[in-house]
Amino acid sequence: MITPTLLLAGISLAPAEPGGFHAPGPEIFNFPPLWAGAPAWLTKPTLLAMLSVVILIVVMWGAFANPKLVPRGLQNVGEIGYMFVRDQVARPFLGKDTDRFMPLLVSIFFLVLLWNVMGVIPIIQFPVASHIAFPIVLAATIYVMRIYLGIKYQGPIGYFKNMMFPPGVPKPVYILLAPIELLSNLILAPFTHAVRLFANMFAGHMILAFFSLVGFYFLFENFGLLGAPLGILGTLVTIAMTGLEIFIQYLQAFLFAMLAAMYIGQSLHAEH
C-alpha cells in the first residue's frame, strides 16, 4: 500500500525541489530536424512514416510479385495477412464488393499496423500515428472516397436522403434524427476516425514514456533505498504496459481498417 502513496507523493512534490522528477509532457512528441541544416519537415516521425511505407512495399512485393499456386516462404505470410483482412475486416461490411476494395484495405491495415508497431520496437520507439497529421490524411482519403462513392451509387439526392432518413423510424422522430445523422456522418465520423487512432497512440506513448522515466529516474538518476522499489515498480509496469500497448496497436489498426470498410460499405448500399 505504501508504493502508490509514494508514487503520488513523488510526482506532486517533484516541482518543489530543483532537479527532481519531472513527468514527461507533450514536448516528447516534438523532434528537431534529423541533422543540422536538414529541411524542417525531415524529422523522426516523417522518416519513420516513409520507412514504414518502404518496408510494406518491399514485403508485399516479395510476397505477391511472383505468386505460386503452392505458396512458400513470404507468400504464406502475405496470404495469411490478406485473408485476415478479407474475412475479418472487409467481408462483413462489403459483401460481394469485397475484392474491389481489398488493395485499399490491405494497404491501410498494414500501414497503420506498421506505424503503430514502431511505438514498441526498441530504439525506434515512436508511434508515427501519434502525430495527428498522419491519421488525418488517411481519414480524409476515406472521407472523400465515401462521399464520391455514395453520390455515384445512390445519386446526389438519394445519398443524402438515405443518410438523413433511415427507414423504420416513426415520422416525428425525423425532426430530431435527420440533423443528428447528417452531423454524425459528415463531421463527427471522419473526425473520430482520425482522432481515435491519434489519441490512442498519443496516450499509449505518453504512458510508456512516463513509467519508463519513473524506472530510469529512481534506479539510475537518483538511486536511493527509498526510491529503488518505486523504480523497480515503474520498470515492471513499463513491461506490462508494453504488452497492453502491442494489443492496442493491433486493435486500433484493425478498427481503423474496419471503419474504412464500414464507411465504404454504407456508401455502396443504402440500407445496411
Partner: protein
C-alpha cells in the same frame, strides 16, 4: 483557503468525459461476452457488432481528450 487546484483544469474535464464511455464500454463488452457465452456459434457476428459499439462509445472519451485543444483558441 481550504483547497487549491494547481495545474491544468482540462485534466478534470477529461476525467468527467471518461465516466460515461467507461461505463458504456463496460456494458458493451460485458453483454458481448454474455452473448458469446449463450451463443458461441454467433461469435463472428457478435464480435463485429461489439467492436462497432465500442468504437462509437469510445468516441465520446476521445472528444473529451481533444476538446481542450479545440477550445484553447476561443
Amino acid at each position: 483557503m481550504l483547497a487549491e487546484v494547481a495545474g491544468n483544469v482540462t485534466a478534470i474535464g477529461y476525467g468527467l468525459a471518461a465516466i460515461g464511455p467507461g461505463i458504456g464500454v463496460g456494458i458493451i463488452f460485458g453483454q458481448g461476452v454474455q452473448a458469446i457465452a449463450r451463443q458461441p456459434e454467433a461469435y463472428g457476428l457478435i464480435r463485429q457488432n461489439m467492436l462497432l459499439g465500442f468504437v462509437l462509445t469510445e468516441a465520446l472519451a476521445l472528444i473529451g481528450l481533444v476538446a481542450p485543444f479545440i477550445f484553447q483558441g476561443l
